[in-house]
């Protein structure tokens, strides 16, 4: 439809096969590039415009009502001293929250977790995708196996994780055979690594599917030419495929980052409200504040977090934009 119409559809109305790079170009200019010559707006255009607006209405109203307007209220609350007196205090709440020890700890832990888990999730899933991209035996079965953790509710497998990583657990039993010391993983500084393992277990399959799709969209003729020019598989991978993967890699990073904030589920279900210090996550802090109905702290926390997220997302979008440009020429 018109949004990408001009570029994506040939005159016969058949969608053109688009290269990843081209696709990105479309995306970026979808809204800005319209036909140069201003056509007279016909009645049909008007119907399309206003008719389709009606279709959007329920969703837009819902989003406004449940996300956008309340978020404005959140911004308003964050500048008040308390909801009853409603005295304007400027950035006082932000200072208060950001100097709070629990909040700092939560931010530190969440950030550390994301910094460890996200790169691992990207690299390991890429390795899996590359392995699966070959004609190895039981390919489809492997794909299903890797995806299956995504389908399993966290709550269902928490028991097994407990059995594995408890002080008397199976993992300790195993390393005990090699003469290593027993550790109560969930109540030690190693807890974060257990959580990283759980995160990878859950998310690798999803990332892998994204990479597999990207790998199969690398134009085959370019690889054939490279092979004819006697490029080694390594060269083909690093010089050709990786560039086509750049955009997907950005997306996988974004999604892994988002999912890394959901790790609270695993931590909560494993250790309930009071986890070991190093796995006290941001959501724990928020839950705590919800219980105390501390709107000021909640609002300030949410705003700070949203700002950080927006900055990270925009940086990643910019990176995508930058690397995408290479391919368009």
């Amino acid at each position: 439809m018109p949004q990408t119409g001009e570029q994506s559809v040939s005159e016969y109305g058949i969608p053109k096969k688009r290269f990843p790079g081209k696709k990105r170009e479309n995306a970026r200019t979808a809204h800005s590039r319209r036909p140069r010559i201003k056509r007279k707006r016909t009645k049909r255009d008007l119907i399309a415009q206003w008719g389709s607006t009606l279709f959007m209405a329920p969703s837009v109203i819902g989003v406004l009502l449940f996300f956008v307007i309340p978020f404005c209220v959140v911004i308003y609350y964050s500048t008040l001293n308390n909801p009853i007196a409603k005295e304007f205090v400027g950035l006082e709440n932000f200072k208060l929250v950001s100097s709070n020890e629990a909040f700092r700890n939560a931010v530190r832990n969440s950030a550390l977790f994301s910094v460890i888990a996200v790169p691992l999730a990207v690299v390991l899933s890429l390795i899996l995708a590359i392995a699966l991209d070959n004609k190895i035996p039981f390919r489809t079965q492997f794909r299903s196996f890797f995806l299956s953790p995504m389908m399993v509710p966290v709550a269902s497998v928490v028991l097994i994780w407990q059995v594995l990583f408890d002080y008397n657990g199976a993992f300790n039993e195993l390393i005990g055979k090699f003469g290593l010391e027993k550790v109560d993983y969930l109540k030690s500084d190693k807890a974060i690594f257990v959580v990283v393992v759980l995160f990878l277990w859950k998310n690798l399959g999803y990332n892998m599917i994204l990479f597999l799709a990207a790998l199969s969209s690398v134009p085959q003729d370019i690889i054939e030419v490279a092979t004819l020019e006697s490029a080694t598989p390594r060269q083909i991978f690093f010089k050709i495929k990786l560039r086509y993967l750049a955009s997907t890699m950005v997306f996988v990073t974004i999604m892994s980052l988002i999912n890394s904030f959901k790790i609270f589920r695993e931590v909560y279900l494993l250790t309930t409200d009071y986890p070991y210090e190093t796995i006290y996550m941001l959501q724990h802090y928020m839950n705590n504040k919800f219980r105390k109905l501390d709107y000021q702290a909640l609002s300030a926390g949410a705003i700070m977090m949203s700002l950080v997220m927006i900055v990270i997302i925009l940086i990643l979008f910019a990176a995508d934009h930058h690397y995408g440009k290479d391919l368009e020429g």
């Binding site: 439809m1 990408t4 809204h31 070959n134 509710p153 408890d166 589920r265 709107y295």
Partner: protein, 314 residues
């Protein structure tokens, strides 16, 4: 493929050249298969263990895992082994866990229905509203729409820690806190499905729409008669993704519902884990069944849905 080989004659080079390359290929393939097998075992073990252990008799569970849950399990009547005994195959297949869960203590089953009751309306209405909105986004290209769509993407990428605060404020204002509406309404309007379905609809050729319009079809007719049949697949895919996301929810009920009786099983299970360990495996397995069924029948749709997500921008 060293320089030495390059210098040799054409024939000898060929003979020498192919075998190392083939060897390399073979090594690579073995390595790839090995890596896949390793990860496959790692990925499947927890799931398989949960399912097989659900067929253990309670006494066997406490004998095997008693030492992990010793502090919390009910009494020390049974023999508790010193160490954990991780077992794939039960000594004796027993359905006693299931019988207890299904017939004797219905509270777990009630929580299961809580989950269903929470997730199904969200899934259906989110898809419905998203399909309509996606048509709106895809049908006409305008500046405001572009801005709104970008806002949707940003909103979609916001973690719960950000969105739950506004959700809580609205629920409080509308006085729907502690009711399922507090979870349903934000879920129904979640922008995720809009994003995914719009991306798909953008690929429907304009000429198809225009042809329908020429034939005198109104907007509603185009939507139901042209777009919806083409989007069936992506709507299934989106539905699966929405379903697994909400079936797994923990954050929203914890904050928006205060009565544990109304919690979905995803949250309530952690409380069983601490208490009646002997039942927990059966409950966990029952909770897995819907998602595993969806997976078995809809894997292709799931993969397609994930693939369409790739590339944040439309």
């Amino acid at each position: 493929m060293s320089a030495r080989m390059e210098n040799k004659g054409r024939h000898s080079r060929r003979a020498l050249h192919i075998s190392p390359r083939k060897l390399k290929k073979a090594i690579f393939m073995t390595l790839a298969t090995g890596v896949c097998t390793f990860f496959a075992i790692l990925f499947l073990t927890p799931i398989v263990l949960t399912i097989t252990n659900s067929f253990m008799a309670p006494s066997e569970i406490s004998a095997n895992y008693g030492s992990v849950f010793a502090t919390t399990s009910s009494g020390g009547r049974q023999f508790v082994a010193e160490r954990v005994n991780l077992k794939f195959i039960p000594d004796m297949v027993s359905f006693s866990q299931y019988i207890t869960v299904l017939f004797k203590s219905p509270e777990y089953l009630l929580k299961f229905w809580n989950s269903v009751f929470l997730v199904v309306p969200i899934m259906i209405f989110q898809l419905l509203i998203a399909a309509l909105a996606a048509y709106g986004f895809a049908r006409y290209d305008g500046k405001i729409r572009g801005v709104i769509f970008f806002a949707y993407i940003i909103l979609m990428l916001m973690p719960y820690q950000v969105t739950l605060v506004p959700n809580y404020l609205v629920s409080e204002k509308l006085q729907i806190l502690d009711t399922y509406w507090a979870i349903w309404l934000p879920g129904i309007f979640s922008p995720f499905s809009v994003y995914l379905i719009t991306k798909y609809m953008n690929r429907i050729p304009t000429s198809l729409i225009e042809a329908a319009q020429m034939d005198g079809a109104g907007e509603w007719k185009i939507f139901t008669g042209v777009c919806m049949p083409l989007c069936k697949g992506i709507i299934f895919s989106t539905g699966i993704l929405v379903f697994i996301d909400y079936w797994n929810m923990v954050e929203q009920p914890l904050i928006l519902l205060s009565d544990p009786e109304r919690y979905p099983l995803s949250v309530y299970l952690s409380k069983i884990n601490a208490g009646e360990i002997s039942l927990a495996f059966a409950v966990a397995t029952i909770y897995m069944i819907p998602t595993l069924l969806v997976f078995l029948y809809g894997e292709e749709y799931l993969v397609e849905g994930i693939t369409y997500q790739g590339g944040v921008k439309a």
